[in-house]
């Protein structure tokens, strides 16, 4: 019984979160005695796709029809189902993202499969099939038994450690996958795509530097951007900041914004409302810089500095440059 793993590509490269998904799926395959098979959709070189082998995949099915160039959850879900049927996979694993959730949902309805999104750990497969997932935006966890024959897991970032020791040197076999495409999946027309160029994606970022109302205005963001630039980090903000239009909405991190799980989250002038904490509690290490020593964010932080962000940020930027 195979485990089918969907991976997302970014300009032909496998996204880091998708490499984690491959490693996760390969471990599930090892647990359940099956093969780990990857599905990739879109343009990519075989050499890049072979890298899935380093993380435990045996084979990559690659669909690169021109019609699939645009992210299309309905067509992609069709492909996922066809690939699951071709490979006789009973477990399907996808990365947690807007696309991953949308594909998983439509595939689950087609396959009458139980779906669990936000999975945070490897499943228990002795006897019943139980997985743990994040709920209440990371404020709690649920352990869920999947009872359906086909199981779909949508895996959160950092659910599995991708350290050097888990990376192998085995190349996966890449096979062209030619699905049958349905016209009904292509009825919508993409008119325009506005993608901010050069920015590090918040959901993929290893480091995020984020600002709150303590930054005092959009004109004061440069010291924060300088630190982010020195660290190669993405930038985020709290809800009041995006509500005030100091920063774009797609930078809003929190319970009703983007949920992030970087290795390092640096909060500058953010007091730490419970809704903001809910969006960052997947971070491995949290640094808080705030002039109010009573700011609730310090209770959730690993490192804290009480002081003026405008004095501290340039010092940090200099220190980062010094070690690079």
């Amino acid at each position: 019984m195979s485990v089918l793993i969907y991976i997302e590509l970014d300009n032909g490269s496998i996204k880091k979160t998708s490499l984690e998904t491959v490693a996760y799926g390969a471990k599930v395959a090892a647990q359940t005695g099956g093969k780990a098979i990857v599905l990739a959709i879109g343009k990519a070189d075989s050499g890049e796709l072979e890298k899935a082998g380093d993380f435990g995949a045996e084979k990559v099915l690659h669909a690169s029809d021109e019609k699939l160039a645009h992210e299309n959850s309905m067509a992609y879900a069709d492909l996922l189902v066809q690939a699951a049927e071709t490979t006789q996979s009973k477990i399907i694993v996808l990365p947690k993202s807007g696309l991953g959730d949308a594909m998983a949902a439509r595939a689950a309805a087609k396959l009458k499969a139980g779906i669990v999104s936000g999975v945070t750990a490897l499943p228990e497969t002795q006897g019943s099939f139980n997985v743990t997932r994040s709920i209440f935006t990371g404020k709690a966890f649920a352990t869920v038994e999947i009872k359906s024959d086909i199981k779909i897991l949508v895996v959160k970032k950092n659910a599995i450690e991708l350290d050097e020791s888990s990376v192998g040197t085995v190349k996966a076999t890449v096979e062209i996958f030619t699905p049958s495409l349905r016209d009904t999946d292509f009825e919508a027309t993409v008119v325009e795509v506005e993608k901010a160029s050069g920015e590090v994606s918040l959901t993929e970022a290893d480091i995020i530097v984020s600002g709150g109302r303590g930054m005092k205005g959009p004109e004061n963001w440069q010291p924060l951007l300088d630190l982010a630039n020195a660290l190669g980090a993405a930038t985020g903000c709290s809800k009041p900041v995006s509500d005030l239009d100091w920063r774009p909405h797609h930078e809003h991190i929190g319970q009703t914004g983007i949920k992030v799980a970087p290795n390092l989250y640096i909060a500058c002038g953010i007091s730490g409302a419970i809704q903001h904490l809910a969006g960052v509690n997947g971070s491995k290490c949290i640094v808080v810089i705030n002039k109010d020593p009573e700011a609730p964010f310090f209770k959730a932080a690993d490192y804290g500095i009480v002081g003026d962000v405008f004095e501290i940020l340039p010092k940090l930027t200099e220190a980062v440059k010094a070690i690079k």
Binding site: S73, D101, A102, A105, A109, I115, S134, L264, K284
Partner: protein, 245 residues
């Protein structure tokens, strides 16, 4: 145009989440419940579209009777009538089957809901419903304009947005800034009391997933404070102690 808006009934975003009955149930004591924030955006845009097109707006909730104050609030905001499927929604698949069952009976042109509920955060119900009805589904939708049968959508993608056109019927998961939340006025609150709220029993669904237990995250260790005068020490600690840089 017939619009259906699906709402969730969730703990307020400031709620501290705890469990009871040996960590098998949410502890509702002292928790204030609200319409899901993303669903509120969907509802607000639906009210505007109803006013614009002169159609009808039904609000649907899959859940138990304790959600009725939130359903009445949706009626006060501008929905014409409401349906409550009388069942505890234990998983996304179950919820989606109930929504699709109601939707098939009435042939809605547009089904709106939040991008995700803020309790279980799955973000999959719109996709499940779309597939079950055999129609398109898109999420998260930040802008929605309708002209006749043609729909123009702006939806969030990674670090940006995508604008697309499609035809009705559709299922959409919504988020800000699709519309400003609406607050019910006194007239709305009074008329909501007399608007129809139909309670129906759920259709049977195969058990797909079953929650076993709940847990809270492990408590965080103490925060290591660094004097502001030695701020640069932080970078050294992140490199040598936390081993992140």
């Amino acid at each position: 145009m017939k619009i259906l808006v699906c709402i969730t009934n969730v703990p307020d975003t400031t709620s501290k989440i705890t469990f009871t009955d040996s960590d098998t149930r949410l502890n509702k004591n002292g928790v204030q419940f609200i319409i899901g924030p993303y669903d509120d955006y969907a509802l607000a845009r639906a009210v505007e579209l109803k006013e614009q097109t002169g159609g009808s707006l039904t609000v649907l909730h899959v859940g138990e009777a304790d959600a009725e104050p939130q359903i009445r609030k949706a009626l006060a905001i501008g929905a014409d009538d409401a349906v409550r499927v009388n069942a505890e929604p234990l998983d996304s698949y179950f919820t989606a089957v109930q929504i699709a069952h109601i939707a098939k009976q009435e042939s809605y042109d547009l089904i709106l809901m939040g991008r995700e509920s803020i309790d279980y955060n799955s973000g999959v119900v719109h996709g499940l419903v779309g597939e079950m009805l055999g129609i398109g589904s898109y999420s998260p939708v930040m802008k929605l304009d309708i002209s006749g049968n043609k729909v123009t959508i702006a939806r969030e993608i990674e670090s940006g947005k995508e604008i697309l056109t499609a035809s009705l019927p559709l299922v959409l998961g919504c988020q800000e800034p699709i519309a400003d939340w609406k607050i019910p006025n006194m007239r709305g609150i009074m008329t909501a009391r007399t608007k129809p709220l139909k309670v129906v029993e759920p259709v049977s669904v195969d058990e797909m997933t079953v929650p076993q237990s709940y847990a809270q995250p492990a408590p965080k260790g103490a925060c290591k404070m660094i004097p502001a005068s030695e701020a640069s020490t932080l970078i050294r600690l992140l490199q040598t102690e936390a081993k992140i840089l």
